[in-house]
Symmetry: C2
Subunit: 386 residues, 2 copies
């Protein structure tokens, strides 16, 4: 049982429920950000980020910077883009548009491939686009939190390496890192960025990313300096390398208490094979998706291979809005999220199934949520005379 | 007595010791960043930031963004500077150079006034510079953490309004907000930025700033869009205004647990008149500075009016380095910081006296630190045969 005060179970696609130990590790007494205690904690955390990404290449570089997941887009855009360079965005929802807006802020000339809602760009479409002009980078959301659509980042990267090998592959893994399979080195990815608060299960406030040697070299060989100061890879790189070697270093003060939480969370995650973690998320996701289908609901993600394993976005029955169903869920102790994709926000709800709610066998979060969903839907239909 | 595990007292110029209640408030159970509970907490926090800055002008705008204090420089630079505009930096230590580097990253043409170490630019020098060319903004560190030198931000702002009224006055208050007097409206400041981890006493990881209507209007009337995405005032403004009106809104996920800690800390701070808080920090600072003088040590800050009230940077006796003295302090349960100003880093140490170590009458942190300093110095001198 949790030592936390009684509360409804947070099952939105992030932030997610906290493990007690992760939450309590933030109560560590104050430390100097350059003292030996914290330097060790931060150094070990960076090394565990490598394991999280299944990366063993010492020339790849993990980053942990105080900020929201969004800051990762600024890191990609301000370090990898020079004014006027081309970026190709594979749109699968709300976060594709935002990632594109961030790239444009730093001078990118953005092309988006935008399929119908619930679909993802096909490999043929991506190949066609890559052959039309040289792209400095490709940007895709692994799981788009607004739709639950999964991009096939492995196949896209293979395609890029075949068709346009110099193009950098950057992945927004905010809603996937820690629950979807990612083999950073083996798949030859260039940047995968995430936040601390989703499948990693730490509190929000840390921007976490993994950078390939190719990406780091691209930053080092820029013709112009990086176009951000706080998000500059060159400002952080020596500092994070020092921390990982247990040497104090300073660029900006790390979020010490959040790093403690991340250390605990990553210690738990990396104590088991990552493959096991991905498998259990996939199993539970299959169960959720079967239950949703049994309730007669359709997912936004149109095909099994497009469907994320850490969340499920589902259309409500005709005539029902999120405001008809979410209060009934809350009454039963469960919090889902309303729609986020602007065009259809009032037509669907989102169920996040990541982290401790999946991996802790003592919790019954998913069973409770599915039972609550069934009841809340029936209640809402009855109230509306449907 | 603190409920925290036994530990040496952290008396560096930030991060500082935690109040138990502040530390424990991070253990709040997981909440949706757009749910009513967190929306209320965040909205109240923003309103308390106004009080922290003694601001009652509803058109002034508080910002609380996940990130280090350093991110505040990016907010100033990317929102207020357009390429090629002039910025005047009043250098009082390490952070003047860094603030200048950030401004340059976003296209500013920077002029620095650099006095001798321990001094601050005189009003006459600032007036002369302001008359030489039009400056879009002036940038100064209120207390430079590397030297303990205090800029007279009130007098500088009066001067700017008289000589160059269109110039925006921006202040790095990372080491001053919460311990030095700041009257945001009355002094007609434009931006004061800070971090959560110094005199405010919350954990590191939040960039906090206050913006005047003049500064906000400057951003809104830019010829080019802000040159950062994550640090864009235009991206955050509607979201923070909504939160303060208790309406959910989204740009990037706030650091929910840190916001809880900040809420608790600001509730404590604003429950008493700010003048009382400034007075007690000044009293304790006077006591520290008298004790340091009695030990025969000289401060970096050359004159009483240049000396900050939240920290003291002191030269060690000839022949002693920080590594000779800091271990002796640690042995006595006290952590001070080594020097940070590159040219003289091995010649001095820094003592932070801010927050709960000053305001909690049950703690004897300053007395203990002064006693430990006396003993550690004597021990180090003896070991060196001085």
């Amino acid at each position: 049982m949790s030592s936390q005060a009684p509360h409804p179970t947070l099952l939105i696609p992030g932030p997610i429920e906290f493990d007690d130990e992760v939450l309590q590790s933030m109560s560590h007494y104050a430390e100097s950000h350059t003292g030996p205690g914290f330097v060790k904690t931060f150094g070990e955390t960076l090394t565990m980020v490598r394991k999280l990404f299944q990366s063993t290449n010492p020339a790849a570089q993990p980053f942990v910077v105080a900020g929201s997941g969004t800051l990762g887009w600024d890191m990609v855009s301000s370090n990898l883009i020079e004014k006027g360079e081309n970026a190709l965005v594979l749109h699968t929802g709300y976060f594709g548009d935002s990632y594109a807006a961030c790239l444009q802020t730093y001078g990118a000339n953005v092309t988006q491939i935008k399929p119908a809602i619930g679909d993802r760009p096909s490999l043929a479409e991506v190949e066609k686009a890559l052959k039309e002009k040289p792209y400095k980078l490709i940007a895709m959301t692994h799981t788009d939190t607004s739709t639950g659509v999964l991009n096939d980042i492995k196949s896209v990267t293979e395609l890029v390496r075949r068709v346009s090998p110099q193009t950098l592959v950057t992945v927004d893994g905010v809603c996937s890192v820690g629950c979807e399979e990612i083999a950073f080195d083996a798949w030859d990815l260039d940047v995968v960025l995430t936040g601390s608060q989703k499948a990693i299960g730490a509190p929000p406030g840390l921007s976490i990313s993994m950078w390939s040697p190719r990406a780091i070299e691209t930053v080092k060989s820029r013709k112009t300096p990086p176009s951000s100061y706080y998000a500059s890879v060159l400002n952080w790189l020596p500092v994070l390398q020092n921390y990982e070697n247990f040497k104090p270093s300073y660029f900006a003060t790390p979020a010490t208490q959040l790093v403690h939480a991340l250390h605990t969370s990553l210690s738990q995650i990396t104590s088991r094979p990552m493959s096991e973690r991905f498998a259990i998320h996939a199993q539970v996701s299959d169960r959720v998706k079967a239950a949703v289908a049994e309730l007669g609901l359709t997912q936004l993600a149109s095909k099994p291979e497009n469907q994320a394993h850490g969340m499920t976005a589902m259309y409500l029955p005709e005539g029902l809005a999120p405001t008809d169903v979410l209060p009934g869920l809350l009454k039963r102790g469960v919090i889902f999220a309303a729609g986020l994709h602007k065009e259809i926000a009032t037509k669907y709800i989102r169920f996040g199934h990541m982290g401790v709610s999946i991996t802790d066998p003592k919790r019954k979060d998913v069973d409770n949520a599915l039972a609550a969903l069934k009841e809340a839907l029936a209640e809402a239909k009855q109230a509306k005379g449907l």
